[in-house]
Amino acid sequence: MITVNNLSKVFRQQNGEELYAVNNLSFTADKGEIVVLLGVNGAGKTTTMRMLSTILQPSSGTATLEGYDLKKDPQNVRANLGFLSGDTGLYARLTARETITYFARLYDVPENKIHDRINKMADLLDMHDFLDKKIDFLSTGMKQKVSIVRSIIHDPPIMIFDEPTAGLDILTAKNIISFIHKCKEDGKCVLFSTHIMREAERIADKIVMIHQGKVLAQGSWEEFIENTGLHDLDDIFIHYVNNVVKEDA
C-alpha cells in the first residue's frame, strides 16, 4: 500500500528561480488496486514516480510504501518495490538469464530460489526460447518481457509503472497491460502513470489527474462521470484543467 502525503519537489532553475515540479501531492493506493497518475507531458508524473522509487529526494512532504517511510527508510522501500518504465534499458552483452539473475541478487533473492523463479516467470511469459540469448539479439517484445521479469523477480508487493507502454507497438503494449492485470490479481498495489486517456480509462481503479505538479482531481471513473456529467475522459480532463485556469484568473 502507498500513502503519499503533501509530497513536493522543487528544482532550482538556471536563472535561480525555483520551480515546483510536484506541488503538495497527496493520494493513496491500496493492495490489489490499480491507481493511474494521469497528466500531460511535464505534469510531474515522472518526478513523482522517481520520488516514490527513492531515486529523487522529496523537497518536502513524504510517503510511505508498505509502511516504510521514503525518507527514513529508502532501503526497505526499494526492497518492496518493482519499477518499470518505458525507456529503461537492458545490458546488451548479457543474456536474459544473466540479467535477471543479476537483479535477483541485487534484491537479495536467496540463491536457491533464483533458478525456480526465473523458470516460473519464463513459463508464464513464454520466454524459454531466448532465456540464454544475449539481449542484443532479442526483439523489442522479448526485451520488454525481460524487463518485466527483471522488475518483479523479488516478488514485491508494490509495482510502479512509469509510462511503460510509451513507444511500444500494440502487441507488446498488450503484454504489459495484461501483466499489470496479473499483478492486481496477485494482490499487488499498482501505480501506473500515463498521458494516454484511453489507457487510464481501461485499467484504472482510481485515477489521479495531475497538472503542473498539482492534483486536479482524483477518484474512480464512475465518480468523475457523476461529478462532471461528462462521459469522455478527454472532456473530463479538460474540464478540470479549465477549472484551474479560472481559479487562477
Partner: protein
C-alpha cells in the same frame, strides 16, 4: 556497505566488459602486440632503411675554382668513394645556379674549392660543402665527403711534415679516449626510464577511460541506470563495485604492457647480444614499477569514475576526459626533461611524482622516503576522489541532468542577463591573455609606467565600458554605497594580522617548493625604493591596484556571480583573483586575500571597504620591505627572514574580533545570501 552486493556488481561488470570487443582490444590486445610491433618492427625497419640508403648512388658536383694539384687530389680521393659519383661538368650561367641543382635534387651535395695563401706561404684550400640537412640522402652525402676529406687532410699534412723532416706524431700531443662506466643495465634504464613512465601513464588512462565512460555514463545513455538505482543495492555499493572493475582491468592492462615490453626488450637484446655482452634486464625494477602503478591506477580510476558519473552520455564523458588526458600527457613528459629531480614538492604533485620516480627506479637511483611520500600522497588523493565520486552518485542534479532539464523547459522563462558566469569566464580569459601578451610587454619596457597602463587600461577601463554598454546600474553593481566609518577602522586593524597570515602561507609554500633566488629578487625589486621614490611605489603598486582590481573583482565579477550564492561567488571570485596574478607560487596566499576582500564587500555592502583593505595590504608590504629596520616590533615577529609561527594565534584572534565587529556594525537583517541588495 554489503561486501556481497559489491561482489555481485563487480562480477556482473567484469562479465559485461569482458564481452565488449572495444575493451578487449584496447585493454588486452593492444598492449600485447604494441611493443613487438613498435620495437622489433621499428628497429629492423630503420636498419634496413639505412642499408638501403647506404647503397644508393649519390651524385655530387665539385666546383673547382683553384684547379691546382691539391684540388685534383681531392677530386681523386672523392671519386674513390663507392656509390659516389662526381658530375663531370654542369652548364650553368652563374655560381648561384649550382645551388639550384642541389635544390631540385639533381645532385645531393655541392662542393666549392677555393685556395688562399697563409701568411707563412702555405696553400690552404677552402672547401664549402652545400647540402640539405632535411634530406637523408643529402646528409649522408655530406657525412661521406667529410670523413673522406678528413682522411685526405691527414695524408696531406703528413706529406708536408715529411717534406720538412718532422715526425707526424708530433701532432698527437693529447689523445682523448671515451670510456662509459655505466653498466649496460643502467644504460637500458636510462633510455627506458625516459619514455616508460610516459608510455605507461598514457596507456593506463586511455585504457581506463574507455571502461570508465561505459560504466556510468554508458548506463545513463542506455537507460539502465534507473533500474539499478531502484534496486535494493546502495549507491556506495554500486560505485565501489564499478570502481573495482576499472581498477582490475587497468591493472591487467598495465601488467600486459610491462610483460610485453619486457619480452620485446629481451628479444632485442638477445639479438644484439654479441655486441653488448650478456646482461640481465632489471626485472626487479619492472616489478617495482608494476607495484607503483597500483596507487596511480586507483587514482585515475577514481577521477574517471567521477567524470563518468557527471556526464550525461559516453560522448560527453569522453570530451571531459580529453583535458585530463592532455594534462596527464604534459605532466608525465617531465621524465624527458633534463634537470628535473624528484624532491619534496614534486613528490606531492600527481603524475609528475610517478613520472620522476619511475625514471629514478629504472636508473636504480631512487630514495625510499620519496617512494613512500609518493604512494602516501596518492592514496590520500584516492580517498578524496572516491569520496567525490560517491557524493556525485548521490546527487540527483548530477544523475538526472537530461531528464529534469527537459521538463524544466516546459515552464522555464527565458530571462536574459548578460552578466552571468559564462560571460565572466569569457571576459576573464580575454583579460588574462591581454595581461600576458600586452601588459607584460608594457612592464618590460618600463616597469612603473607599464603597471599604471596595465591597471588603468586593461583592468579598470574595460569594466567601466562593459557596465556602460550593458546598461546596468554602475553604482549598484560596483556597490558604491555609503558605509559605516567603523568598517574602515576595523579593516585597518586587520591589515597587519592578515599580511602576516598570508606571509606564513607563502612561507609554507616556499618550504615545499623552494623559490629561486632570482624570483625573490625580482619580487623584492618591485617593492624596493632603489630606483623609484617610495611615494611613486605606494601609488603604483599599492593604491592603484587597490582601486582597479577591486572594481574588477569585488565589483564587477562578484556582482555577476550573485546567482551562484554567497560562498560560491566569493570563493570563485577569489580563485580568479589568484589566477589573475599569473604566479603559481602566490596563488594560495592571494586567493586567501581574495576571500577576505570578497567577504568584506558582501558584509559591508560597500566596495570602499575592500578597496581600503587592498590598499592597506599592498602598502604595508611595501613599507615593511623598505623600512623593516624602522619597525622595531617586527624583529620580535620575524626571525632570520621568517615569520614566527606563533603569530598565527594572535593574528587569528584579532581577525576574529574584527569579524565580530563587522557583524555588529553591519546587521544581518539587511543582507541577503544571494549577494543581492
Amino acid at each position: 556497505m554489503n561486501i556481497k552486493k559489491i561482489i555481485v556488481i563487480y562480477k556482473k561488470e567484469m562479465l559485461d566488459l569482458l564481452r565488449d570487443k572495444r575493451t578487449i582490444i584496447t585493454s588486452f590486445v593492444l598492449p600485447i602486440i604494441l611493443y613487438p610491433l613498435l620495437m622489433i618492427g621499428l628497429t629492423s625497419m630503420t636498419s634496413r632503411q639505412e642499408i638501403k640508403l647506404e647503397q644508393q648512388e649519390i651524385v655530387i658536383y665539385l666546383n673547382d675554382m683553384s684547379q691546382n694539384e691539391i684540388s685534383r687530389e681531392i677530386r681523386g680521393s672523392l671519386s674513390e668513394i663507392e656509390t659516389l659519383q662526381i658530375m663531370d661538368e654542369a652548364i650553368v650561367y652563374n655560381e648561384d645556379t649550382y645551388l639550384d641543382l642541389l635544390k631540385d635534387k639533381s645532385i645531393e651535395a655541392l662542393i666549392t674549392v677555393e685556395d688562399s695563401l697563409s701568411s707563412t706561404g702555405y696553400t690552404i684550400l677552402n672547401l664549402t660543402c652545400f647540402y640539405d640537412e632535411t634530406s637523408e640522402k643529402s646528409s649522408m652525402a655530406y657525412r661521406k665527403i667529410r670523413d673522406n676529406l678528413r682522411d685526405l687532410e691527414e695524408v696531406l699534412i703528413s706529406k708536408r711534415l715529411d717534406k720538412i723532416k718532422i715526425n707526424s706524431e708530433i701532432l698527437n700531443a693529447v689523445e682523448i679516449k671515451k670510456e662509459n662506466i655505466a653498466p649496460p643495465e643502467q644504460m637500458v634504464g636510462f633510455i627506458v626510464g625516459k619514455f616508460l613512465p610516459y608510455l605507461l601513464i598514457i596507456l593506463t588512462i586511455s585504457g581506463a577511460s574507455v571502461i570508465a565512460s561505459d560504466l556510468i555514463a554508458g548506463e545513463k545513455e542506455r537507460g539502465t541506470l534507473e533500474t539499478i538505482l531502484v534496486s535494493a543495492a546502495k549507491r556506495n555499493e554500486l560505485v565501489i563495485g564499478k570502481y573495482l572493475t576499472i581498477i582490475t582491468i587497468s591493472i591487467i592492462t598495465v601488467l600486459l604492457n610491462l610483460l610485453s615490453m619486457y619480452i620485446a626488450f629481451r628479444h632485442i637484446f638477445m639479438q644484439m647480444g654479441q655486441t653488448m655482452g650478456n646482461f640481465q634486464l632489471p626485472i626487479g625494477n619492472f616489478a617495482l614499477i608494476l607495484l607503483l602503478m597500483i596507487p596511480l591506477i586507483t587514482f585515475f580510476s577514481a577521477i574517471l569514475l567521477s567524470i563518468s558519473t557527471y556526464s550525461r552520455n559516453i560522448k560527453e564523458a569522453q570530451s571531459y576526459q580529453m583535458p585530463l588526458l592532455f594534462g596527464a600527457i604534459m605532466l608525465s613528459m617531465v621524465s624527458f626533461l633534463p634537470g628535473f629531480e624528484l624532491n619534496l614538492g614534486f613528490s606531492l604533485i600527481p603524475i609528475v611524482n610517478f613520472s620522476l620516480l619511475m625514471r629514478d627506479i629504472m636508473l636504480n637511483n631512487y630514495q625510499l622516503s620519496y617512494l613512500f611520500i609518493v604512494i602516501g600522497s596518492t592514496l590520500v588523493l584516492d580517498v578524496v576522489t572516491v569520496y567525490i565520486s560517491i557524493k556525485l552518485f548521490h546527487s540527483e542534479n548530477v544523475l538526472f541532468r537530461t531528464a529534469e532539464e527537459k521538463s524544466l523547459k516546459f515552464w522555464g522563462k527565458n530571462k536574459k542577463n548578460i552578466l552571468n558566469l559564462q560571460f565572466v569566464l569569457v571576459y576573464f580569459v580575454i583579460m588574462i591573455l591581454a595581461l600576458y601578451y600586452i601588459g607584460e610587454r608594457w612592464q618590460i619596457q618600463d616597469l612603473m609606467r607599464g603597471l599604471v597602463k596595465t591597471e588603468v587600461l586593461l583592468i579598470l577601463l574595460p569594466v567601466i565600458v562593459i557596465l556602460r554598454f550593458s546598461k546596468t546600474d554602475i553604482k549598484k553593481t560596483l556597490r558604491l554605497n555609503y558605509t559605516n566609518p567603523m568598517n574602515f577602522l576595523l579593516v585597518i586593524i586587520a591589515a597587519l594580522p592578515f599580511l602576516l597570515l598570508a606571509g606564513i602561507v607563502g612561507q609554507i609554500i616556499n618550504l615545499i617548493f623552494p623559490l629561486s633566488d632570482t624570483y625573490l629578487e625580482n619580487l623584492q625589486s618591485l617593492l624596493s625604493t632603489d630606483q623609484n621614490s617610495i611615494w611613486l611605489i605606494i601609488f603604483v603598486v599599492g593604491i592603484l591596484p587597490g582601486i582597479c582590481e577591486e572594481v574588477m573583482f569585488r565589483g564587477f565579477i562578484l556582482s555577476s556571480l550573485k546567482k551562484s550564492g554567497f560562498w560560491h561567488g566569493i570563493i570563485f571570485t577569489a580563485v580568479l583573483f589568484g589566477v589573475f596574478h599569473l604566479d603559481p607560487f602566490r596563488f594560495l596566499p592571494v586567493s586567501l586575500l581574495g576571500i577576505w576582500l570578497g567577504y568584506l564587500a558582501w558584509k559591508t555592502k560597500s566596495l570602499y571597504v575592500p578597496i581600503l583593505a587592498h590598499i592597506m595590504q599592498n602598502s604595508l608590504a611595501i613599507l615593511i620591505t623598505n623600512y623593516s629596520d624602522k619597525f622595531k616590533f617586527l624583529d620580535f615577529i620575524v626571525k632570520d627572514g621568517n615569520i614566527a609561527y606563533w603569530v598565527i594565534i594572535p593574528a587569528v584572534i584579532i581577525i576574529y574580533f574584527v569579524v565580530k565587529g563587522l557583524h555588529t556594525f553591519n546587521p544581518a537583517e539587511t543582507q541577503d545570501n544571494s549577494l543581492e541588495y
